[in-house]
Symmetry: C3
Subunit: 138 residues, 3 copies
């Protein structure tokens, strides 16, 4: 069995947005009990991560480190058409994920207790981000 | 056909642990000859990587660079409840993988000659890590 | 339905090589209209990324940052048998992807408008790189 749906998410600036409730709804709608759920983001300046869902400072600190690894407005960049957060966003996407693959067990995502699934918006303004969820199983 | 099993791995401190023999056993048990094998780790402070399996200094050097990219006890971190290796472990997980997807061909993982699959423990103490392998194919 | 094929790509030195036309051909050959396409690279010194396909300076700038994150010939490396680009290539692979999972929709890859799929060769000389594409769906 295959279930596939596109959905969108409106981001309100750089940061992380929890996708877990949307994913659980898609898994329920798919009626698949055992298999995998893959999520894909159709962009190169927003990405997907799994990280700790309990203490929000984890995501604050992650942002601090991302700004070090891929600084905004670095003088070395040649690509800056859309501003200081343009090239840094592309690099952050390469360092994180375009897609995630999560096991589906007993009709639910088999995420660990402390695992949250996040859309990571790397641009500083608002965007409508398009994603596709594909669930394969039985 | 779908095969799914959960398994656990006891880590003995920060470092890499080869998962290849467990994965090959699961692939044999699945009786799937052509498809994909996905492995997922249910944690946010231990992750999965594929890297060179021949010379152990590759993994020593990888650790050196990880310590630079995500330093333990960085003064910028706000999240440090569980010690100096707490936030650095979360960052290392985001920079590496929660899941791997490996082709299954002729009833085996189709890894390259020099590719090893490793659980990468990022915490410095001992943990019991839970993983799920899902194999899809025919 | 499962479709699986191995293919190879001859790289001409460090840099990015667009794989989109090969992937689209495999998706057409598979006759799968809805599902996922996974691509896997059987090496630990070349990897896979999705990034902006419009302006080539994105990939120039990405290379600039990769050289910072995983410098060639870093004095801290112990693994340098094959030269200054040996260990840096392994680190770049860990920071990027061994495999990509892309949705297949209406018989095509559902890549976003600005998303290109690239083989990223991290070694400075020429290599014949082996990949496997597995398409699962209906």
């Amino acid at each position: 069995m295959i279930y596939q749906q596109q959905f969108s998410y409106s981001t309100q600036g750089r940061g992380t947005y929890n996708l877990c409730s949307q994913l659980e709804k898609h898994i329920r709608d798919s009626r698949i009990t055992t298999g995998i759920c893959t999520v894909f983001i159709h962009h190169t300046s927003a990405s997907l991560i799994i990280t700790e869902n309990a203490d929000a400072t984890v995501r604050t600190d992650l942002e601090t480190i991302m700004q070090r690894l891929a600084p905004d407005g670095d003088p070395a960049y040649r690509h800056d058409y859309e501003g200081d957060d343009d090239m840094s966003a592309h690099i952050r996407c390469v360092l994180t994920n375009d897609s995630l693959t999560i096991p589906v067990t007993k009709g639910q995502s088999a995420l660990g207790t402390w695992q949250g699934v996040y859309l990571y918006e790397h641009r500083t303004s608002h965007f409508n981000r398009k994603l596709t969820v594909t669930i394969i199983g039985e």
